[in-house]
């Protein structure tokens, strides 16, 4: 699958239909291909600028960094590489901001950084931002673009982040704080099976791939795949997702939801 983001000077070839699109036009169109409606993955910083009112975002815990607690082979190197290429410290940005004037807490996982997988930093930041939301009584929206689940290189510490972020999601529920998940590009495994699957409302962008077991895990079991398997549309039909929302309508749909549930 396509991991491309806009980084070729001047123009961009759609990984779905192959057509060439002017960079500027693509950005104006929220990185959605104007020819085939392919929703290109969006980085965390880009998502913030697409969604929040300009100048309202205040980042939480911007310097939280992995300590490589397992001293895992190649982990440090790969982290550094991803930090350099994305400008992120880890695979998530969290913070507070406003959407059409409505204050909220937001978190965004980024596929470009270790496939958006969850280690201690991602788990801690998600939990902290949920706890802040409870303190300040603000709604929470989490965007997930996580093809990876619990991050292998932090072993069981990663797996336990599933329990930790699910526990803080449950705290949100108990506090009657609106919690919305938006799944974009890919959402699988340990991220999908914890905080990303626990929202009161779960939205997917068109074409998002959603599930527990990704391609790799499934390979052990050879089965005929049903048409459209694990796509957003498939998951709506299977009752798991509330709705599919086009990226250019995302802001207004979220504003409606925030307004309704406030």
């Amino acid at each position: 699958m396509a991991r491309n983001t806009v980084n070729i000077e001047g123009s961009f070839n759609c990984p779905e239909c192959g057509k060439s699109i002017d960079d500027e036009e693509l950005l104006k169109n929220y990185k959605v291909c104007p020819f085939c409606n392919y929703h290109n993955p969006v980085g965390a910083q880009e998502r913030i600028s697409m969604l929040l009112d300009p100048g309202t975002f205040i980042e939480y815990d911007p310097v939280l960094n992995t300590s490589d607690p397992l001293n895992f082979p190649l982990y440090k190197e790969r982290i550094k590489k991803d930090q350099k290429s994305t400008g992120l410290v880890d695979a998530v940005i969290t913070g507070k901001g406003e959407l059409n004037g409505i204050p909220l807490v937001i978190g965004i996982t980024d596929y470009r950084f270790r496939m958006g997988s969850m280690g201690s930093v991602l788990g801690e930041k998600i939990t902290r931002c949920m706890e802040k939301a409870i303190e300040e009584n603000l709604p929470v929206i989490i965007f997930s673009s996580s093809g990876g689940g619990a991050r292998m290189q932090e072993g069981m510490l990663s797996l336990m982040q599933m329990a930790k972020t699910s526990a803080s999601s449950k705290k949100l529920r108990k506090a009657r704080i609106l919690y919305i998940n938006v799944l974009s590009f890919k959402s699988f495994a340990g991220v999908m099976a914890s905080f990303a699957g626990l929202g009161h409302i779960i939205i997917a962008e068109p074409g998002t791939q959603i599930g527990f077991t990704g391609e790799r895990g499934r390979s052990s079991i050879s089965q005929e795949l049903p048409e459209g398997f694990q796509t957003a549309k498939f998951m709506v039909e299977r009752g798991m997702i509330d709705m599919i929302v086009e990226r250019n309508e995302m802001k207004s749909v979220l504003a409606d939801l925030l307004d309704f549930f406030s």
Partner: protein, 322 residues
């Protein structure tokens, strides 16, 4: 028993049988060899202790898979009296990969849940090798909610390579079912004790594994992913599954150091499978000891402590504070 012997044990097993043979041989002599035999046996035991207290992570993995370890049903059948098994999620189906029910454990009425891999080929197929489907997680949740309503403690036995990875499980929302369990277990208003008895594999294990206390058998493993999967992902680094098993830090001791496992349950010298009754009784004692403490807590305190337990798991550098 042959198929129960792993490579690393072969030399010591050979030594042991040689000593046995020797004993038989010398018994026909008039001379007394008992002193020499005793010395040999002492040496043998010292070697054994050294060997079995230092089993490599990879052999621990293999021990859970290749050896007839006691399974969830063994612990449940032996430790729970007046057992009534309950079936079904009231929504879609029953999942035999999970044994669930109610009964007496010591002086407690408890609800039990256990991932069961099965003993023979027929049972393994019936129980899908302990790989649960979404209906299994939902069955677990239904029965845990019953435990909460009637204020009965929950004991769960973890032993699975993971959640079932098939198309049908995806169609019925495997990820969503597991997520719900994690969320609900984190706030369930009754004590939960989880015992990792064999192979704790990823989110599939965790789906019944959120607890006030996590106990783990000495040789059991608990891992974010299979060592093989890890090696596959790191193939360019030429890391073999045994090396991955080391890197992943999946042993009881390592997980205890990380603060993930609360208590390690010592296995009999050669492993739980060589003395099943002892292993089961030790598990029983450990569960009872922890239950005695947990049931005395106010429910609100219990749930808050559970929250804080998970809240505090994770290691990172927070430059604002360091």
């Amino acid at each position: 028993m042959d198929k129960n012997i792993l490579d690393f044990e072969k030399p010591i097993m050979e030594l042991e049988s040689k000593i046995e043979e020797l004993k038989e041989t010398v018994s026909s002599f008039q001379t007394d060899f008992s002193r020499e035999i005793e010395l040999l046996e002492k040496k043998l035991n010292r070697e054994k202790r050294a060997l079995y207290s230092n089993i490599s992570p990879w052999y621990k993995v293999l021990m859970q898979r290749e050896v007839q370890r006691p399974r969830a049903s063994d612990y449940i059948n032996s430790l729970i009296r007046n057992k009534t098994e309950l079936f079904g999620d009231r929504i879609y189906g029953d999942d035999l990969a999970l044994i669930a029910g109610i009964g007496k454990f010591r002086n407690y009425d408890v609800v039990f849940l256990g991932q069961e891999k099965g003993k023979d080929t027929k049972e393994r197929l019936e129980r899908n090798f302990g790989l649960m489907h979404p209906e299994g997680y939902r069955k677990a949740l239904r029965i845990m909610k019953l435990a909460e309503k009637f204020k009965k403690p929950v004991i769960t036995f973890v032993d699975t390579q993971g959640a079932h990875p098939g198309v049908d499980a995806e169609e019925r929302g495997q990820a969503f079912a597991i997520a719900e369990n994690l969320a609900e277990m984190s706030a369930l208003e009754t004590p939960i004790i989880c015992v990792v008895i064999g192979e704790g594999g990823s989110g599939g294990a965790l789906g019944i594994g959120v607890a006030d206390k996590i106990l783990m058998l000495e040789n059991a493993i608990y891992s974010v992913c299979l060592p093989e999967t890890c090696s596959e992902i790191l193939w360019r680094a030429h890391i073999t599954p045994p090396e991955s098993a080391v890197a992943l830090k999946l042993t009881a001791e390592e997980l205890h150091e990380f603060g993930i496992v609360d208590e390690i349950i010592k296995e009999p010298l050669e492993g739980a499978h060589r003395d099943i009754e002892t292993a089961i009784q030790r598990v029983g004692r450990a569960v009872k000891k922890n239950l005695d403490v947990l049931v005395k807590l106010e429910i609100d305190d219990l749930v808050e402590q559970r929250y804080q337990k998970y809240r505090n798991i994770g290691e990172f550098i927070d430059e604002n504070y360091e």
